[in-house]
Symmetry: C2
Subunit: 331 residues, 2 copies
DNA sequence: TTTCTGTTTGCTACCGGGTGCAAACAGGTG
DNA sequence: CACCTGTTTGCACCCGGTAGCAAACAGAAA
């Protein structure tokens, strides 16, 4: 098992200096046709390609972007990751996927990303308090950070999100139009700004319509089971006459779990007895088994904008993009 | 925006040489308590941490593992990615997620991984022909490769998979026991060895039971829609009397799509008119809306084994691990 | 032939660390 | 005090590239 060939070795083989070899591999460098040919031949023979690690060290740019993820329960992450990696790779960048969990928190991860000299950090659906950041005493050499699909709570860290206000307005309009008047909202466990925003808008817009008192309850976490359990305890505790007639869930996974429980264990009909709305438009929402009304985030555009900011083609600033209401049978 | 502090700067601040600084950050290095304290103090003041990029270049090990993924339609990838990144991070390794697609194929990706000097490449659910590898003329300096959750078709590249033979035997035994006698099998589009293996075992085991002639048809790709469409055309073309009484799908996503179509558009009952079996035990399979009988891959163990091989704690060799049949209402 | 200008090439210095050896510095012993 | 041994520290050189300057080499003009 031989090692990779180096520029020096190629230089020797081609009878030139190592700098000429490097020029042959630098687009637009000043090099004679003849020597370029010689070098490329020798390089091909030795199977030489430049070592990106060494290049990164010298140029101070790794072409690597750290992507922090902390919630793998939401299947919506997967298409996002697909789009994100694809766009990054189109820009010659590569994603370093960092799993934020109890053993590896944001501070750890950020330090790590900094030590690896990544060009940028994308907080994909994760967020941390600004104190965490200042704890690090970073913010000087730190790679630029961007938040994707969640509000940024940190000064100077832009976020790219789906327009929650618009989304919730469309949803509430739709529900009002369909005649629902006793709305409920199910949140996930964590007290996240994005979640709070959605809830707040939901409550506010109903108030605008003259409907006060949205029932709000919370699931343990963002999973189908947790959604089911939250609905179960709600339905058990609530007199049938007092029940909501439409339940908006913070994301699709909660909604699907909720729907199962509503129809399965309680034998209620969706949407006749209780309508359900989700958020994200996860693939299976469209299946005839669920046919869930939901709201689609503009994934492609969000990714394009954030990658644009990462590459510097776009000004880094918080951007909210309009999504699309997908009306199905569940409302 | 200052740059990161370097060992040299810390050395100056602490009044020692840069090598002493490095020793202070090298576990087990020979350094006096007193100077270590001085160095660490100075380092803390300057917010110094070693530059992993430079270290990688010098030590010839990046602690990065490239993970190739080419099928983001299967939500099962997500929990696998979660487990994988978690285990890798526990070993001080980090995953570089590479999206294999038409714009960025295996050859490209492998070359890239090699140029970045990753410590290993994990082909997660992807596979390529050995000719592709030899095309590259690599195999000398190339990082060691491992295949996860798919058969390896390449000599010397070990794979960690779920035991397909055992799985299919259990499934067929279960189905036979339940009285099904007209089995069908739905594959995804691609002609993958893993798919072929599953199908072959399925056919073989039925033959052992005295049941010849398994109906086999194929979906366009691995998605719920494709599964639905494949079933639609099958049901349209097949006389009700000739239809299979149980349909095994190559993975859960196909199965869920198939189930939707069977029940929704054709108004058939599952499992009475046609039973359905999936593969993977994706979270939503357990929901009451589907309650799909499926087979769970031993995710945790598979990941542990492959990470063990990556770190060198385990001998690199092809390993198949037993999964578990999950019997639900769909059979 | 000399001079000038533009291209090509080589070189030094550097990116931020790691390795192995040799010198310097202990502390204990004869 | 010389001597030996073990620890600590400094150093030259290396990892594989990149940047920018200066020398060498053209070819054309004077």
């Amino acid at each position: 098992m031989r090692k990779r060939a180096t520029a020096r070795e190629v230089a020797e083989a081609a009878g030139v200096s190592k700098w000429t070899v490097i020029r042959a591999f630098t687009p637009g460098a000043s090099i004679a046709e003849e020597s370029k040919r010689k070098v490329l031949e020798a390089a091909a023979a030795l199977n030489y390609t430049p070592n990106l690690l060494a290049r990164s060290l010298a140029t101070n740019s790794t072409n690597q972007v750290a992507v922090f993820v902390d919630d793998f329960a939401n299947p919506q992450k997967l298409p996002f990751l697909e789009t994100l990696t694809e766009r990054l790779q189109a820009e010659e960048l590569v994603a370093v996927l960092i799993n934020i969990n109890t053993h590896f928190d944001h501070v750890h991860a950020l330090l790590h990303a900094d030590q690896r000299q990544v060009d940028a950090v994308i907080l994909f659906g994760t967020a941390f308090r600004s104190e965490t950041l200042s704890d690090l005493q970073l913010g000087r050499g730190t790679p630029p950070m961007f938040v994707l699909a969640r509000d940024s709570q940190i000064e100077g860290v832009p976020a790219v999100t789906c327009d929650a206000e618009l989304a919730l307005r469309e949803i509430v309009d739709h529900l009002f139009e369909r005649g629902y008047r006793r709305p409920g909202f199910m949140t996930g466990a964590t007290v996240l700004s994005t979640a709070l925003r959605r809830r707040q808008h939901f409550v506010d817009f109903w108030k605008e319509k003259g409907v006060d008192g949205v029932s709000v309850f919370s699931a343990e976490k963002y999973s189908a089971d947790a959604g089911a359990e939250a609905v179960r305890s709600y339905l058990k505790q609530t007199d049938p006459a007092d029940r909501v007639d439409v339940l908006m869930c913070e994301n699709d996974i909660l909604a699907l779990g909720a729907m199962d429980e509503i129809r399965g264990r309680f034998g209620l009909r969706v949407p006749e007895d209780m309508a359900v709305v989700g958020f994200d438009n996860y693939e299976l929402c469209g299946s005839s088994a669920y046919s869930l009304t939901t709201y689609e985030q503009p994934r492609q555009e969000m990714v394009e904008v954030i990658v644009g900011m990462v590459t510097g083609q776009l000004e880094p600033e918080t951007v909210t993009l309009p999504g699309a209401l997908i009306v199905r049978q569940s409302t």
